[in-house]
Subunit: 159 residues, 2 copies
């Protein structure tokens, strides 16, 4: 798709140290790889759905489209979430943190789930801590979510 | 403090590709800088509080202590959250995502806030998107949280 026409008109302010924390200029800070972290959260239930990363282009596409567009680190390409599965994330609100190097996306998750494994949330397992950890033995996760929200193979094909 | 005694007994499983997504072995995936992202969320309100990073040592300290211990990328040191301010984060639950490269910490945030700026959450500003963005003009944030939760200067001193 031709994204340039829509995203060329989105202007980020040059980063100035004094304004980043207390000011109202959006000056996203991309890391050494040109990426910023973005956590998608269900806007109604507040369930954390997934953590992914955006580069400058995918962030501008997100702002222009009102749908989450990430940058896939493994595939090294722009990743319009839901393009394959139909499970797009419609943006309801975007929050940025104090030093402007992390984003929260409050989204309407279309379809049954955010995770390619078939779970509603990618965060479907819990990690033991404190007295739950058995000294000297491998740390073992527990399932934190009941069942699968959709059939991943039917949506994405076998992988 | 002597952390070695407590953290030496925490064992992470060697990472195997097949088990990472569907298995129950905790095999955290650290990035090229040896870090994993961790989002702290209020365990009652589900308010996202902050996004920070952990290295292997601080993750093991988190599991051992039951309090959030991060790795400060700017200071390049272990950062036991709340050591200065008293605003520790008591862990209620830890979740890990499908490819085990991101964590959610559901925490009891002791004290008024998580953010060094004095806000309860680091995510105190919202980013406009879609028709809220004025083409060709700098993107301007809006305050998403009313007022400050505590007096940052009184807690941390002027900075």
């Amino acid at each position: 798709m031709d994204n340039n026409k829509q995203t060329d008109q989105i202007v980020f302010t040059a980063r100035t140290a004094t304004d980043v924390e207390k000011g109202l200029d959006f000056a996203p800070k991309f890391d050494a790889n040109g990426l910023i972290a973005a956590m998608a959260v269900d806007h109604v239930t507040r369930e954390p759905l997934m953590l992914a990363y955006m580069n400058e282009e995918s962030l501008k596409m997100t702002l222009a489209f009102g749908e989450a567009v990430y940058y896939s680190r493994s595939r090294q390409e722009i990743w319009h979430k839901g393009a394959t599965s139909g499970h797009v994330q419609k943006i309801k609100q975007i929050l940025v943190d104090c030093d402007q190097d992390a984003l929260i996306l409050l989204v309407d998750q279309v379809g049954a789930g955010a995770c390619h494994t078939g779970h509603h949330s990618c965060f479907y397992r819990s990690v033991p801590f404190g007295s739950q950890v058995e000294p000297g033995k491998p740390v073992t996760l527990a399932l934190a979510e009941e069942g699968l929200a959709f059939d991943a193979e039917a949506v994405y094909g076998k992988h």
